[in-house]
């Protein structure tokens, strides 16, 4: 990567972020500049996942006594 190319792109972003990107793109060496990657993760716990810290599941889920995983609580059958 030519330094002037990097400076050209850094000149286009806000001043207070330039140092951050300079460190990010040069500091870690040439390997730092690779194809852009976006990864996305859901934060809400899903059924079948392990309970969080403290052994608790998110709101709306309960810990299964059988599997120890988070499950949607079963509703009781309506009494006759």
């Amino acid at each position: 990567m030519a330094e002037h190319d990097l400076e050209k792109v850094l000149a286009q972003i806000s001043h207070d972020r330039r140092g951050f990107f300079r460190t990010l793109l040069i500091g870690a060496g040439a390997a730092a500049v690779v194809a852009p990657i976006l990864t996305t993760e859901a934060l809400a716990q899903k059924e079948g996942e392990d309970p969080g810290p403290g052994g608790k599941c998110d709101e709306g889920l309960v810990v299964s006594k059988k599997t120890g995983k988070c499950i949607v609580p079963k509703k009781k059958a309506p009494s006759p």
């Binding site: 190319d5 792109v9 972020r17 951050f20 990010l24 500049v33 852009p36 990657i37 976006l38």
Partner: protein, 424 residues
Amino acid sequence: MTDDRALLGCAVTPFRHKMSKPKINPVLLVSPVENGYVAYDPVLDRLHHLNPTAALIAELSDGDRSIETICDLVCPIMPDKKAEDVSDWIAKSIDAGLLVWADSASAKASELSAAELFNLTKRLRAAGKVQTAYLCGKRTVEQQPDNWDAWYDFGEIAQCVGRREEARAAYQKYFDMNPHDGEIEHLLIALRDETPPLRASDRAIQHIYKNFAPSYEERMVGDLKYAGPQRTLEAAKSVIGDRKDLTILDLGCGSGLTGNSFKEYAASLTGIDLSTEMIELARARGIYNQLEKAEITEWLENDERVFDMIVSCDCLIYFGDLANIVRLASRHLRPKGILAFSVERGTHAPFHLTDTGRYNHHPDHIRDCAIGCGMEIVKINEGFLRMEYGDEVGGLYVVLRNPNKTHDKRGVGKAELQDAYSPG
């Protein structure tokens, strides 16, 4: 349109034109982190992670630059210099909701409120996403500089992610607004690298356990895999033998975890603790013959009773120099009586006040204390104590034996008064 898409290598989202102008979705909360950006989507409750190149493209996506302009700027610094990589990424980011078109209706901003951000920080931390929690916590205190609760939380999170100076500053802000918080007062001594006191103050201990008591066992045993009582018992087993008739004193008994481990060897079990809340937990366990609320040094100085065994787990971590406590404890032991305790293993002799507010102790200090008090060293085992911020904390499991004599109030040996205790 087709030509544009082919030119831009887009296969995911129908680009309207290479001159279309993307921008970061205004509903997102974006923060730089060590390896790029993180962006939280509060609408869909999900988190985007952007590598450095992706973060740069996102930064350039300000709604004024076209895809073509962004490609022209970024491609030259990429190894393959392929425009498709950039345009594909933009297309995927539009699909993922990270970017929006500058002129789209969805581009209306709706910032997270300070309260929402505060709650999000707590939630991220509870979910173990401390790096993101740190970023959100930082934004929270910037938005709410008078929210002492937010400063406290941010101090903890900053400590979790190893940002000591920020933790100290955050705790200081909190303490300025809550000068009666003994726990933070004690923690600040460590974070300011001041000369540590001989032990944590009563106020600090009481404050720590008032808050900690409701979740103590869940956090210590469940989350932190605390092994102090079992490991201390393992160390002491060789001298306890088959005896089931011991009189045992549990110093800093807390919720009774230690008592629970030793109860099968006890004819009577006495527990001492400074925290009212912890004493109540111990009482609810129903294993102690006697429970007293007292500071242990004071109790040892004033009480006359003697025991076959004194145990103390997760208590002497609030003491620096252990010489006095070992000397006082030895006076309450029958001849051949046992003092068994656990501390955190330190690498600096004699002891060190850590940033967690707990003291750790070098094995040499334990030896010096034992010899200085005329106690016989049976064992000093090293091993796992518990987890902390995802790392293992090492412990020392110490077993000392009172020689065949008793001590008077000054710790001077005198004629034996009780039947000798013979280990099995």
